[in-house]
């Protein structure tokens, strides 16, 4: 792939929380965008195009919100594009923004993703009934729980691997002032005793519902070199899709995820992700998805992802060699449409050395990952402190 170099030169997030009733949806999106512009020391006039992403319209019931958000995002006279890929949309939106710059068509692009879950009905709008079909009235947890059970059966993972992830990510989140859930004293026992939502997913093994937005400014090589703060160079970008259901589909270890990872690693010159990467921000909305994605993304052989989790390899607090979700991840903050972009932005914060108390010391190369739909859309990027 021949692409021009591009880099993240500004990052802005809102504080993730249950309800932002003080702002409209436009005000929420705007806050992240302004924070990203301030981080990049830029103004609206410096932006050539705006790429926006969010989860399906039915979540908040605002049809085509990009129409209503154009003025809040300074789109007057500029191209604006909306990206749709379900829960992975925050990641794919960042990648579409990156490609606008990598193609050489635009020099500096603003990208924003958001969700205002307090105003939405994401739980039920996720799986709508249709005539002539049986209604899967289960929400995301009900959809993924049987897949997790199959992972447990195949791998023989100990029953508390998910509990361990739930604790680990909340301890990470306690280092991140923007994280929604702040649970610095969480224990394995507390997670284990929390009520069962969708067996085997307990309440504390599931992500919260959050309001929030995340934004980034992506610039071309020349502008990134002049940026006032360290750029996060985009070293690889990949997206893959597969149908939700087809005979023989491996939902535990989807082919699209494996292929997407292989593609992004090849671009970034990564042969062993656990060794070559310094940390990863991976979309883990339910605790068990950490061991599952550790395998899907090649950090561990198939059936052995849970060993990294149990050994503390993915934990900052246990001094693990490959911290996963140092920001606290989706398990701490889940404004759905933004969650993928937060992973991408947090990966960039790590290699910019700008992650505060959840900084992985000396991080030079990081993975940002998002998945969505019935674990059928994958978006990933690798960002580095160096151009490569």
């Amino acid at each position: 792939m021949m692409a021009n170099l591009a880099a993240v030169v500004g990052i802005g997030q809102t504080k993730y929380t249950t309800k932002r009733h003080d702002v409209s949806i436009a005000g929420l999106v705007r806050e992240a965008a302004v924070n990203a512009l301030e981080d990049a020391q830029l103004s609206w006039d410096d932006i050539d195009a705006v790429i926006i992403g969010k989860a399906p319209d039915m979540f908040e019931g605002v049809v085509m919100p990009e129409i209503y958000l154009a003025d809040a995002l300074g789109c007057n006279g500029k191209p604006m594009l909306r990206v749709h890929t379900a829960g992975s949309v925050g990641g794919s939106t960042a990648l579409v923004a990156a490609s606008h710059v990598q193609s050489g068509s635009f020099r500096r692009v603003l990208t924003v993703a958001y969700e205002k879950q307090s105003e939405s009905n994401a739980m039920w709008a996720l799986s709508t009934p249709q005539p002539f079909s049986t209604h899967l009235n289960a929400g995301a947890g009900g959809y993924f729980a049987p897949i997790i059970r199959e992972y447990m059966r195949r791998s023989g993972a100990p029953y508390d691997a998910g509990i361990k992830v739930a604790v680990k990510d909340r301890l990470h989140g306690a280092r991140n002032p923007l994280a929604h859930l702040q649970k610095p004293d969480i224990t394995m026992k507390e997670v284990e005793e929390s009520f069962m939502l969708w067996d085997p997913i307990r309440f504390l093994e599931a992500c919260p519902s959050s309001d929030g937005a995340c934004a980034m400014v992506i610039a071309d090589e020349g502008l990134a070199e002049q940026a006032p703060r360290p750029p996060a160079w985009i070293r690889g970008v990949a997206m893959r899709s597969e149908p939700t259901m087809y005979a023989g589909r491996d939902e535990v270890n989807p082919q699209a995820g494996r292929d997407c990872a292989g593609d992004v690693y090849r671009q970034a010159g990564i042969s062993d992700p656990r060794r070559d990467l310094d940390c990863a921000e991976v979309y883990v909305p339910f605790s068990w998805y950490e061991p599952m994605w550790l395998e899907n993304l090649g950090f561990a052989p198939e059936g052995e992802g849970w060993k990294l989790t149990m050994d503390g390899a993915t934990s900052l607090d246990e001094g693990g060699d490959i911290p996963w979700n140092p920001s606290g991840g989706v398990l701490c903050s889940n404004p759905i449409g933004a969650s993928g972009m937060i992973r991408f932005a947090e990966a960039a914060r790590q290699v910019r050395g700008d992650a505060g108390d959840h900084q992985v010391e000396g991080a030079r190369l990081a993975l940002g990952h998002a998945y969505g739909g019935g674990a059928q859309f994958f978006a990933m990027w690798v960002v580095g402190a160096d151009k490569g």
Partner: protein
């Protein structure tokens, strides 16, 4: 073999939502509840009613609220001869763009008038407040014509 029926089925889909108006639209609605109409000053000095959160030209956040009059001038209108159930009036009425005194852009609302011939561009109208105001655009229960000698 007989032709198979092609089945179809009506179906309804509905969800419950909430909405936060934010500091600008929220202020406009709160003022309506208090029987007052506010606009906001844009970067070029125009007073925009209803107020918008962000400047249409510069994208800057707007915050300078301006009280405008409850009377104004019809900029354009469309007469509705046969109102439908969802319309604000059971009698024939006019949808209109009304530039309130002190505003620089017109606002859409509706006018109570007996006959189409009574409404014209440039005619003066005045807000009719609902008996009970709740913080919604229908707190203005239409506009009425202002007799010429009074305007």
């Amino acid at each position: 073999m007989s032709q198979p029926d092609i089945l179809n089925q009506a179906f309804e889909l509905g969800f419950t939502y909430t909405r936060s108006t934010g500091p600008v639209v929220g202020r406009f609605l709160t003022e309506l509840r208090d029987r007052n109409i506010v606009g906001i000053k844009a970067s070029d000095g125009r007073v925009v009613v209803p107020p918008m959160e962000y400047d249409p030209d510069t994208a800057e956040a707007l915050s300078e609220f301006v009280d405008v009059g409850e009377e104004g001038e019809v900029v354009s209108f469309a007469w509705v001869k046969e109102p439908r159930e969802s319309h604000p009036s059971e009698q024939p009425f006019a949808w209109a763009m009304i530039k309130l005194d002190g505003a620089d852009v017109p606002m859409v609302h509706w006018i109570r008038a007996g006959r189409e011939a009574d409404v014209s561009t440039g005619v003066r109208v005045r807000a009719v407040w609902a008996e009970e105001t709740v913080g919604f655009i229908t707190d203005i229960n239409g506009f009425e014509l202002v007799p010429e000698e009074m305007s």
